[in-house]
């Protein structure tokens, strides 16, 4: 089954890098991209997506605030917040919101583990 991944990052390079990893791991998945939280939210209101990768440090609202907003819109969607800033408080907030924390630079292996888990959740109907 093919899913749609929402990639939100203010860095185009980071979005391209995530897109490349996705095309290796799940070539049949499609993706949506946004450069900030506002853009991501308006996109999410118009277009359905199944899984999301959110950068943490962005101009405007950060990735954790965006994760809360997206989960309000689409509860139980598998989300990951991606950052090199793995301070305890940030990792803990991600966990409380129900998002997975992934380290930047994003490694294919870590993305793969997150997406495999997301697929399991989507297919068992828990997402």
């Amino acid at each position: 089954m093919s899913y749609k991944l929402l990639i939100v990052d203010d860095s185009k390079l980071a979005r391209m890098s995530a897109a490349k990893a996705l095309s290796v791991l799940y070539p049949d998945w499609t993706r949506l991209e946004a450069a900030n939280a506002d853009e991501a939210l308006s996109l999410a209101r118009e277009t359905a997506f199944d899984v999301a990768l959110l950068d943490f440090n962005m101009p405007g609202r950060d990735g954790l605030q965006l994760a809360s907003d997206l989960l309000e819109l689409r509860p139980a969607t598998p989300l990951a917040v991606v950052s090199a800033n793995h301070q305890e408080e940030i990792v803990e907030r991600a966990r409380r919101i129900g998002a997975v924390f992934l380290s930047k630079p994003l490694k294919e292996q870590a993305l793969s583990a997150f997406l495999q888990d997301a697929v399991r959740r989507l297919e068992s109907g828990h997402a």
Partner: protein, 217 residues
Amino acid sequence: MTSATAELLSELQLDALTELVNIGVSRAATSLREMVGEQVYLSVPNVSLETRARAIAILAEREVSNLVAVHQIFEGDITGRALLIFPETKSLELVRAITGGDLPLEDIIELEQEALAETGNILLNSCLATIANMLQRSLKMSLPEVLRGNAASFFGLAPPPDAGDVVMFLYINFEVRKRDISGYIAMIMDLPSLTALKYLLDELIERETGETSPVSQ
């Protein structure tokens, strides 16, 4: 993007550079959090090419009071200086946060110089080592030096003989709200390094994106 920036770096090169700095400083913030035991807040980095005079003016606009800086020179394929800068009035508070807060004031004052140099060393190394690793190059770092003065004196330090008037200038704010500590990390790189930097950024872009062509949403 300033016009000088647009002339010298493509949009994607600038994006890659900003992202590199963001990742480097995020790692440094994680190190600082371990040292002070409180969450460190970061701004979004600002990267641009400026004249030396404009870089000084930008910093001077931000802080009027006396500043303390921990200064390190990095050398390799790219050469420049990295500075951890904060108002002089916050430096004892930073030392107090790092030493655990139980020491009497006279001990904190005695430790100040050494503690600042060590903190700067850890933060700047954490940031620059991450950048060097991502660029797959090694950078040699000088020993940290604690400076007191203002933006003009920090950026007016004797440039390398072949340095031009335009520098790559970047800064990012950090804040430990519970301790009322704030400051920023700034880096300047002289123009002769820029050609090498562009090459390294292109290599990074190729590694990160492979054959995937850019997509707009």
